[in-house]
């Protein structure tokens, strides 16, 4: 019963923040509303027994990605609060596309008889995730480090070019 109340609270927070992100005319409000979405999703992870993922979500999404995004919004202020309307896809066609796609997916979700083998036990997950990373997921784990290195170098190269162009 408590789990249901917690779920609905988190769902309302997440969806309302996402609506502000999607529909706000001011990009600054959009970026800050993303905080509510990320925190709500973190709560959902906790509800699903993913304690390590909860911390990762707080650290990387809220502490990292959101801060970088808000930095970028602030650095490009002035042109940042552009009109939401787009001459290619307006709000109404976009909402129509989303509604149609959503209706199809909702129908598919409700019709599919999900196999239900049970629910996972609520144990600390860090130990098992560490074993999974260094066991069956070792190759993706190593490739991920290469991807992060490439992203690091790429970001430096791109921003250095920008600095050089300005100088």
């Amino acid at each position: 019963m408590i789990a249901v109340i917690v779920f609905w609270t988190l769902a309302v927070i997440t969806v309302l923040s996402a609506m502000i992100t999607a529909f706000s005319r001011n990009i600054v409000y959009s970026a800050f509303a993303l905080l509510g979405s990320f925190a709500g999703v973190a709560g959902i992870y906790l509800l699903l027994g993913a304690d390590f993922l909860f911390i990762i979500q707080i650290f990387i999404y809220i502490g990292g990605i959101l801060v970088v995004t808000i930095f970028a919004v602030m650095l490009t202020q002035g042109v940042a609060d552009m009109n939401i309307s787009n001459r290619i896809v307006g709000l109404i066609p976009a909402a129509l596309i989303a509604l149609l796609a959503g209706a199809v997916m909702l129908e598919a979700i409700l019709r599919t008889p999900w196999p239900h083998p049970g629910t996972a036990a609520l144990n600390p997950t860090t130990h098992a995730i560490g074993n999974a990373f260094l066991g069956p997921f070792l190759l993706p784990f190593e490739i991920a480090s290469v991807v992060l290195l490439a992203a690091l170098i790429g970001a430096i190269v791109i921003s250095r070019q920008a600095a050089r162009a300005e100088a």
Partner: protein, 105 residues
Amino acid sequence: MPAGLTLNHFVILSLALFLLGSICVLTRRNAIGILLGIELILNAANINYVAFAFFNPAAHYDGQVFAIFVIMLAAAEAVIGLAIVLAIYNHLRTIDVAANETLKG
């Protein structure tokens, strides 16, 4: 644990988040706004991974590991995307995606 909560609850929440994210991507002219929409979509995908993993104890950790990979890629994507956006802003003084359609300096 979740008495009264089924897989459908989480999948439909994820669907709502995905649709709001795609509306955000479709309607924004601001390049950073598009990146915000992509973050919403990635979060929706992550909810699905974790929810399906939770309701299938045999694959409990596999889903969480995949979610961690998605978060890692989202971080890399956000950094690179924002670096490109800032470079475009320094170059053209605007981040309106319609104004950048020529892709020429």
